[in-house]
C-alpha cells in the first residue's frame, strides 16, 4: 500500500501543478481586474495596489512568484476582503464545508448502500420498484429544489429544525440531507446492480447450499464483494460533494468555502479563487489515493501495482 502511494506521488504533484497553472492563467485571462470600480482609480494608486498584491511585472514572473508562494503554503492576500489572507479565510470556512460535506458523505453512502441492498434482496417486487423509483426521483430533483422543500416542510411548517445559518448541530441536519440526496440515489443504483450480479455467482450458491441463513449470505458474503463499485465511486463522490456544497451553502446561508468561491469569481478575487481550487483539488487527490489504496486492501484479487 505504501508502495502504491509512493509510486503515484509524482503524477499527483503533476496534476496539482496543472491545476495551479490552469487556474492562475484562466483567472488572469478574464476581462476586468480586481480593482475595477465604477469610478476609475488614479493610475498611481492602481500601480501601488497592483504592487502590494504582487500583480505587477510580466505575467510569467508573476506566475513563478505565485507558484513559489503556494509551494511554501502561502496562498497570498484576498483582493476583495482587504488585509485578510486567503489562508485565514480558508481556515475559517473550510471546517464548515468539511462538517457539512462529511456528514453528507456518511448519509449518502449509508443511505445509498441500505436502499440498494433493500431493493436488490426484494428484486422485482413492488418494494424494489418503489425503492428504485425513489432513487430515480432523487437523481432528477436538483439540490436547490430539495433544499427549499425541506426548509418549507421542517423549518417553516413543522418548525422542527432551523431554516438555515450555522452554529448548532441542528442547523447541520437539513443541509446535509439536501446535499446527500442525489448521491445516495446514485449509490443505491450502483449497489443494487452490483449486489444482484454477486447474488448470481457460484460462491453465493455454495453458501446457500451449506444451509446458511439468507441474512448471513447477503450481509456477510455478498455485500462484502458487492460494495466494491461503491468504493470506486467514493472519489468522484467527494468531488461532487464539494461542488454541491456550493449550492447548499447558498440555499441555507452557511458561511462555508463554497460561498466565498462564488463571490471570488464575481469579485475577480483571483487569489481567493485560486486558493479554494488548489485546496479542493489537493484534498481530492489525496482522498482518491486513499480510496485506491483501500480498494487494494478490500479486494485481494486486484493488484493496483500496474
Amino acid at each position: 500500500m505504501l508502495k502504491l502511494i509512493i509510486r503515484r506521488l509524482p503524477a499527483l504533484f503533476f496534476v496539482l501543478f496543472c491545476v495551479i497553472t490552469l487556474t492562475f492563467f484562466l483567472v488572469r485571462l478574464a476581462p476586468g481586474g480586481p480593482f475595477d470600480r465604477e469610478r476609475k482609480i488614479p493610475p498611481a494608486i492602481e500601480a501601488q495596489l497592483l504592487a502590494k498584491y504582487q500583480l505587477d511585472g510580466p505575467l510569467w514572473s508573476q506566475f513563478t512568484g505565485y507558484l513559489a508562494d503556494v509551494v511554501r503554503g502561502d496562498l497570498r492576500l484576498s483582493t476583495k476582503y482587504r488585509n485578510r489572507s486567503v489562508n485565514e479565510i480558508l481556515a475559517q470556512t473550510l471546517p464548515v464545508t468539511f462538517a457539512l460535506g462529511g456528514l453528507a458523505f456518511l448519509l449518502a453512502t449509508a443511505g445509498g448502500v441500505w436502499l440498494g441492498t433493500f431493493a436488490a434482496v426484494r428484486r422485482d417486487t413492488a418494494a424494489d420498484r418503489l425503492a428504485m423509483g425513489v432513487a430515480l426521483l432523487g437523481l432528477s430533483i436538483p439540490m436547490f429544489v430539495v433544499g427549499p422543500i425541506l426548509i418549507l416542510l421542517f423549518g417553516l411548517w413543522l418548525k422542527w429544525l432551523p431554516v438555515g445559518g450555522w452554529g448548532s448541530p441542528a442547523q447541520l441536519i437539513l443541509p446535509a440531507i439536501t446535499l446527500a440526496v442525489p448521491f445516495a440515489a446514485v449509490i443505491s443504483r450502483l449497489m443494487r446492480t452490483s449486489l444482484l450480479e454477486v447474488l448470481n455467482q457460484d460462491f453465493i450458491r455454495t453458501a446457500k447450499a451449506k444451509g446458511l441463513p439468507e441474512r448471513t449470505v447477503v450481509y456477510k458474503h455478498a455485500l462484502r464483494v458487492a460494495i466494491l463499485p461503491v468504493v470506486t465511486y467514493l472519489g468522484p463522490l467527494a468531488a461532487h460533494l464539494l461542488t454541491g456544497s456550493i449550492v447548499v451553502e447558498t440555499v441555507f446561508n452557511i458561511p462555508g468555502a463554497g460561498g466565498f468561491f462564488v463571490n471570488s469569481i464575481l469579485n475577480r478575487d483571483g487569489f481567493l479563487l485560486g486558493g479554494v481550487v488548489i485546496v479542493y483539488c489537493g484534498l481530492l487527490i489525496v482522498f482518491n489515493l486513499l480510496v485506491d489504496a483501500s480498494y487494494a486492501l478490500l479486494d485481494r484479487r486486484i493488484r493496483v501495482d500496474a
Binding site: 496534476v15 491545476v19 490552469l22 487556474t23 484562466l26 483567472v27 485571462l29 478574464a30 476581462p31 476586468g32 430515480l136 426521483l137 437523481l139 432528477s140 430533483i141 436538483p142 436547490f144 429544489v145 433544499g147 427549499p148 426548509i151 418549507l152 417553516l156 431554516v163 446492480t193 450480479e197 472519489g235 468522484p236 467527494a238 468531488a239 461532487h240 464539494l242 461542488t243 456550493i246 449550492v247 447558498t250 440555499v251 468561491f261 462564488v262 469569481i265 464575481l266 479563487l273 481550487v277 479542493y280 483539488c281 481530492l284 487527490i285 482522498f287 482518491n288 500496474a306
Partner: protein, 296 residues
C-alpha cells in the same frame, strides 16, 4: 444490439408511455408555446406575485410576468443546452473511447488514467472559471465581427461547449469497453487481415456496432447536462437575465421562500416541469439500457 422491436417493447409499459408523453408535451410547448402568449404576459406588468388563477395558470413573478411563459422559455433554453451539450459530449466521448479502445496497450492506459483523474476533480468548478475567463472575450470577438446572434447568445454557446467538455467521461468509458470487446471479434480481425485502414475499421466496422450504446448514453447525458446547467444558472453564473432557464427560475423561486410570505408557485412550477422532464429522460434511458444490456 438495437432490434426493431425495442421501442415497442419498452413502450409496452404504461410508465414508459407516460414518460414519453411528458417529453413530447414539454418539447412541443417549449418550442411553440412562448410565442402564443400575448405581449402583456411576457412584459413586466403591474400584477406582481399573483397566485395561480385561470388567467395566469402558474401565477406571476416579481415583475408581473406570467410564470408559465417564463417556464416555457426556460424549458427552451434548458433543453437546447441539454441536447447540444450532450451532442458535444457524444462526439468527444465516442472519439476518445474509440481511439483508446482501438489503440489499446499503453495509449489506452494513459488515456483512461486521464479520464480517472478528471472524474475525481471538481469539474463544475473549472467550468465556472472557464466561463468567467472566456465569456467576455467571446462577446468582444463576436461584436467585432458584428455577429449579433453570438453577442446575445455567447453565454449559451459557451455553456454548451464547456458542459459538453465535462460530461463526456462516462461515454468515453462505455465506448472504450465496447471497442475492447469488439476488437477481438473475428470480423474485425478479418478486416485487419484484408488490409483495411484503421480509420476505415473504426468508422465502418466499430462505429455502427457501438451506435446503439452511444444512443442510450446520450439519453442519460441530456438530463445530466440540464442538471449541470441549472446548477450554474442557480448560482447566477450560467444563463443571465433577461434570458431564463430552469435553473435561473428556480434561483428566483428559492429566494422567494421566507417566513413572511411564501410565493410557492415561483418554486413549484419550474421545479415540477424540470424534475418531470429529467425523470422522464432518466427513466427512458434506464429502460433502453436494460433492454440493450440485460446483464446490468
Amino acid at each position: 444490439m438495437l432490434e426493431p422491436g425495442t421501442a415497442s417493447r419498452i413502450l409496452r409499459r404504461p410508465t414508459a408511455r407516460i414518460c414519453l408523453g411528458i417529453l413530447i408535451v414539454v418539447a412541443a410547448a417549449a418550442s411553440l408555446g412562448p410565442e402564443l402568449f400575448p405581449a402583456s404576459y411576457r412584459e413586466p406588468g403591474p400584477l406582481q406575485y399573483a397566485p395561480p388563477s385561470w388567467q395566469h395558470l402558474f401565477g406571476t413573478d416579481l415583475n408581473g410576468r406570467d410564470v408559465l411563459y417564463r417556464v416555457l422559455l426556460g424549458a427552451r433554453i434548458s433543453l437546447i443546452v441539454g441536447l447540444a451539450g450532450a451532442a458535444v459530449s457524444l462526439f468527444l466521448g465516442s472519439a476518445y473511447g474509440l481511439i483508446a479502445g482501438y489503440a489499446g496497450g499503453k495509449v489506452d492506459n494513459a488515456m483512461m488514467r486521464l479520464v480517472d483523474i478528471m472524474y475525481s476533480v471538481p469539474r463544475l468548478i473549472f467550468i465556472l472559471i472557464f466561463i468567467n475567463a472566456f465569456d467576455g472575450h467571446v462577446r468582444d470577438f463576436a461584436a467585432r465581427l458584428d455577429w449579433q446572434w453570438l453577442v446575445s447568445y455567447s453565454r449559451i454557446v459557451i455553456l454548451i461547449i464547456t458542459l459538453g467538455l465535462i460530461e463526456w467521461l462516462t461515454m468515453a468509458r462505455i465506448v472504450r469497453g465496447q471497442v475492447l470487446a469488439l476488437k477481438e471479434r473475428s470480423f474485425i480481425h478479418a478486416a485487419q487481415v484484408l488490409g483495411q485502414s484503421h480509420l476505415k475499421i473504426i468508422t465502418r466496422h466499430l462505429l455502427p456496432n457501438i451506435l446503439p450504446i452511444i444512443i442510450v448514453y446520450l439519453t442519460l447525458t441530456v438530463p445530466a447536462v440540464i442538471l449541470d446547467e441549472s446548477f450554474l444558472s442557480f448560482l447566477g453564473l450560467g444563463i443571465q437575465p433577461p434570458q431564463a432557464s430552469w435553473g435561473s427560475l428556480l434561483a428566483e423561486g428559492a429566494q422567494s421562500i421566507n417566513p413572511l410570505k411564501i410565493y410557492w408557485w415561483l418554486l413549484f412550477f419550474p421545479a415540477a416541469t424540470m424534475s418531470g422532464t429529467l425523470l422522464a429522460l432518466n427513466y427512458l434511458g434506464d429502460r433502453l439500457r436494460d433492454t440493450l444490456d440485460p446483464r446490468r
